[in-house]
Symmetry: C2
């Protein structure tokens, strides 16, 4: 793990870019000296780690005592994409905007993207946990499909907050019942891109006994900011 | 309003019993001197204000800076009941335990109970707001059907937290869309006495633009304690 730049933010948070082999990442750590619990933060469907909403959430969370890390996994964010991937992403966007069924595109594109992303996240987790400023335990926040896969594959993840969940590849819908860690599922009630009933069905399917659903009125990007505080308190109950 | 007893609790909260005409009530006020915002707390289906779960929630909330009041409204709690009311309550309990349809009993018994309770709560609100230790604004917490009726009838109520919502009389289901104050609806996912889909439909029906649903795994009395904190923070955003 090689740090390539660093910036000290106003609230004492240290924001560092790193590379780990081919994986580009960002690590936010709180100003305090004690080893912090870690939250892996991933954007739905592999959107870039530099996306402003994710960065704002990561900085805010780090200022409250967590180490937060995000990467562009293989095929995600600004990593190289195949022509087929570019085409699939364009097809998906067009179909969603047109309100057409997206299941098939989703399955053939997002399914493999999740599978390919997992090794990069686990490699990153190994490297992060070797840093003295990171103590664990480990939480996960964001992209539902990746989070389900990681929660099943990765015993070091102790609690997870998922967003949306209307479209999740079949493989992850099926393994949802194997997820046994505490969960917070965040749902936008009128999310045009995430069928509500599917998200409710997914919440129902999770195998964990400790799961909470938070739903708010509004569309995909309308999550109220107080949910960031709620998420941090959820992690506070399970990671601190 | 006549205070009939008072008790200072360990955390500085003052717990006072009062009567207001025929209405018996309890008022919890925080130890601090400044006028506190007020939360009216009512148990579902008119259960007694002395019920330990309500008392625990009221004391905890008062210790966090709120004045909290609960009454036994007409026909509720330990107030005199007609033989017909006793019979209806017994029928309702028996039908719910047997898993039989309860809509008809519910409509003929709980519907009028809500209507009769409203004037007592409004009279109490008048009296409470004349006390120097209570500053307003006013929130409401608990019994969904009564809360809907009060939120529509009573402009002084600025925010409300509702519990369950699977069975709500038709009149209140219909006026749910007239509720325009910020809402937090709390739902137990496996509440045997509150059909989940009806509670979700009710959440959908509320007219307010600022509504949040919190759902947790488990049965009617299994609400995790952290929801009390979440409720207080909800009121903190709207009453303080």
């Amino acid at each position: 793990m090689r740090f390539t730049s660093e910036k000290r933010l106003d609230d004492g948070v240290l924001e560092r870019e790193f590379t780990l082999g081919e994986i580009p990442g960002t690590l936010w750590t709180p100003g305090s000296a004690a080893p912090a619990p870690l939250i892996l933060m991933a954007h739905n469907n592999g959107l870039p780690k530099a996306e402003p909403r994710l960065v704002a959430r990561a900085r805010y969370t780090a200022a409250r005592g967590y180490a937060v890390a995000s990467i562009d996994a293989a095929g995600c964010g600004d990593r190289p994409r195949s022509a087929a991937d570019e085409q699939a992403r364009a097809d998906l966007r067009r179909a969603m905007q047109a309100g057409e069924p997206v299941d098939e595109i989703f399955e053939s594109f997002i399914g493999p993207l999740v599978e390919k992303a997992v090794p990069d996240w686990r490699t990153t987790l190994d490297a992060l946990l070797s840093l003295p400023e990171i103590g664990g335990p480990v939480g996960y926040s964001g992209w539902t499909a990746l989070g389900i896969r990681l929660a099943v594959a990765e015993p070091r993840i102790a609690a997870a907050g998922f967003f949306a969940g209307g479209y999740v590849p079949r493989a992850q819908r099926e393994e949802a019942r194997q997820v046994t860690i505490p969960l917070l599922l965040l749902l936008q009630w009128d999310d045009e891109g995430n069928p509500r009933q599917r998200a409710l069905d997914l919440f129902d399917a999770f195998g964990t006994k400790e799961k909470t659903l938070h739903a708010n009125l509004g569309g995909h990007t309308g999550t109220p900011w107080f949910e960031t505080d709620d998420g941090n308190r959820f992690f506070g109950r399970h990671l601190k």
